[in-house]
């Protein structure tokens, strides 16, 4: 592959290097960091964020943005917790219902954006407010979930040796990741998402189903957010209308650090996975340190975002100069 063809992988490489650098530094600073347990926990602790970020990757590649995900996670969690805890439903139909509601919510946002040409940023901002309000309307406090099905799922574990193991939620995250990554490379839907983000008008003229693709992407993200909400209920054993505040920012940060451009058309699901792992690594490192407080995570993510965006600019600047000659 010639250099110009390889160029698009550079951000991915940079993210991988950053992850390696961070992990290595933490391993050197904190004994016990470099262990299977810590790595497994990276996936287990960030499953909800991960699933959400994977969905967000599709949205961002399509040239859009979705600010409602945190609120949908919260709404899903509290609806599920209330139906199971207070009304005694069995978790399986509740989960199915939650996923359906998430899908419909996403499709609704997608329709507003596509059909009436409202800015995605604004519609999903409204969605964020709306879902959050709905969540609190269900009940203002968190609700615990006690159900044998939940106990069973929470006990599921893939042992990896030592004390390390991957719980069902982490496995689900990995499964979602694999499916999403494969679809992005190997299905026409996936390629249509890239085309939509790279040039919606051209895509339309080429006869691609632009409207359907855009609506579908938001629908899928709604589904992913609901799934993340379900995963959160397994992780915490409860539903909480206040949870997930700021999740959308973390997801967007993971996607951008993973190499996607917010303008659309560029990015990889694989990059987002690396971005989520970077997020998790910093968080774990802070916990290991014990001295630094949790707000350093925010500052670190902010700085990383800045760094990666500057890197992307530098790369596209060099590419532009190369083309001029």
């Amino acid at each position: 592959m010639s250099l110009p063809a390889r160029r698009k992988f550079i951000p991915l490489l940079a993210t991988a290097l950053a992850l390696a650098a961070l992990f290595t530094t933490a391993s050197l600073l904190y004994p016990g960091f470099c262990s299977r347990l810590v790595v497994a926990n990276l996936f287990a602790d960030n499953a909800a964020l991960g699933i959400s970020a994977v969905g967000m990757t599709y949205v961002i590649i399509s040239g859009g943005i979705d600010l409602s995900v945190g609120s949908v996670v919260a709404a899903t969690s509290i609806v599920a917790a209330t139906l199971i805890g207070r009304h005694g439903w069995h978790p399986v139909p509740v989960i199915a219902l939650s996923l359906l509601l998430g899908l419909l919510f996403g499709l609704g946002q997608g329709l507003l954006i596509q059909r009436f040409e409202l800015p995605a940023f604004l519609v999903t901002l409204g969605g964020m407010f709306f879902a959050r309000g709905l969540a609190f309307a269900v009940t203002p406090e968190s609700a615990g979930i006690n159900h044998p099905f939940y106990d069973w799922v929470q006990a599921l574990r893939l042992p990896l040796g030592g004390r390390a193991g991957l719980p069902a939620t982490a496995l689900l995250f990995l499964a979602v990741f694999v499916v999403a990554a494969a679809a992005s490379h190997l299905t026409s839907f996936g390629r249509n998402v890239y085309a939509l983000g790279g040039g919606a008008d051209s895509a339309r003229l080429m006869g691609l189903p632009v409207a359907a693709t855009r609506v579908a992407v938001y629908g899928l993200n709604g589904f992913a957010s609901a799934l993340a909400g379900v995963v959160a209920t397994f992780y915490t054993g409860s539903g909480n209308p206040a949870m997930g505040a700021g999740l959308e920012l973390d997801a967007i940060a993971a996607v951008v650090i993973g190499g996607a451009l917010l303008t659309g058309g560029v990015g990889f699901v694989e990059g987002t996975l690396l971005g989520v792992l970077i997020f998790g690594t910093i968080q774990s490192a802070l916990v290991f340190d014990g001295r630094l407080n949790s707000w350093w995570l925010r500052i670190a993510i902010g700085l990383l975002l800045l760094l990666f965006i500057l890197l992307q600019k530098w790369i596209s600047g060099r590419a532009g100069a190369a083309r001029a000659e």
Binding site: P119, F129, F130, G133, A137, L262, I299, L306
Partner: protein, 339 residues
């Protein structure tokens, strides 16, 4: 080149304020019928009290933020960091007031300056490094919250300093002092934009930045300036918020306020794409949203649920502004008439 059949845009200021004004009137009418206590006013201890006064008072933060946000949106950008800047300014204010003996009259400008500096940093990222406004301000939004918590060490810092407390809770000329602050800010912004040529440059930059630059308009300066200004407005709102509860709570201060501000600007009639803007519209938009919140509260709706109807109002406002939506409704009505 204008497409055939497109309606001439650029309606007068009065026409653009029509929708927010009508909506506000509709809300007030609703209250007239369903909760008349809304309009109950009385004078106690020389000050005016009543729900309307509360609306003015509580809406002051959103109104301040919306002034800065209007100018930012007019240049085609957006400022997502205002909530975090509010938190930083509040934390700085509380820190300075409890750890030093500086009078509030010195502390306030320092906090405003800090807000302005952070805003200018945003502006530089956008003009010098050519970053998209959403991303640049997103970075400060994320990191800034952390910074604010760093300042307060994760604690809630309380204080009693009378002038600081007065800033958010005092009264002046019978009305809450915050109303005075808003009025002054509005007057200042109005003068800055319409009394000088800055407003023209702003609208031109938002409408066609390249053309404006070729005309010699200082587009980079203007863009940096509006983000700095937005930072100052956010810092002012942050001081008010901190004064309101006599404490700096960095994790909660300014939460979701950027959204309120953006909503106010959109509902007020300034387009997200930039160009023409209306300060009065944004103030009206902020008042509308606050009135909505208060109306719902009076009807017994818990405040945590209020975001849901707020969202409906804002999306509805955007739909009304959307040409595609208007076409669609005209199509519906046409079909019904034919049937």
């Amino acid at each position: 080149m204008s497409e055939p059949g497109q309606k001439p845009r650029g309606a007068s200021v009065g026409a653009r304020l029509r929708w927010p004004a009508l909506s506000l009137a509709a809300l007030l009418l609703f209250n007239w019928f369903f909760s008349p206590t809304f309009f109950h006013l009385e004078i106690k201890g020389g000050y005016l009290y009543g729900t309307i006064v509360d609306v003015l008072n509580q809406g002051s933060k959103a109104m301040l933020l919306s002034l800065g946000m209007t100018l930012v949106i007019a240049t085609g950008g957006v400022d997502l960091s205002v909530g975090s800047v509010m938190a930083i300014a509040g934390a700085a204010g509380a820190l300075l007031v409890t750890r030093t003996h500086l009078p509030f009259g010195v502390i306030a400008p320092i906090c405003l300056g800090a807000g302005g500096a952070l805003g200018v940093a945003n502006g530089l990222l956008i003009t010098a490094l050519r970053m998209q406004p959403i991303i640049a301000t997103l970075i400060l939004m994320v990191a800034g919250r952390g910074l604010a918590m760093l300042l307060t060490g994760g604690q809630i810092i309380t204080f009693e300093q009378p002038s600081f407390v007065f800033f958010g809770n005092g009264h002046f000329l019978g009305l809450p002092f915050t109303t005075t602050v808003v009025a002054l800010a509005f007057a200042l912004t109005l003068w800055l934009t319409r009394g000088t040529a800055l407003g023209l440059f702003l609208e031109a930059t938002g409408d066609n930045e390249t053309a404006s630059r070729f005309c010699g308009a200082p587009t980079a300066f203007i863009k940096t300036l509006v983000y700095g200004f937005s930072g100052v407005c956010a810092a002012t709102a942050g001081l008010i918020a901190t004064a309101n509860i006599k404490a700096a709570d960095s994790s909660r201060a300014g939460e979701m306020m950027e959204l309120d501000a953006i909503f106010a600007v959109i509902v007020g009639g300034t387009a997200l794409t930039g160009g023409r803007f209306t300060l009065a519209g944004s103030i009206l938009g902020a008042l509308l949203i606050q009135t909505l919140t208060t109306t719902l509260y009076n009807l017994g709706l818990p405040p945590a649920i209020a975001p849901a109807p707020k969202a409906v109002v804002v999306v509805a406002a955007c739909l009304l502004q959307s040409a595609k939506f208007r076409e669609w409704t005209r199509g519906l009505v046409g079909r019904k008439a034919a049937a």
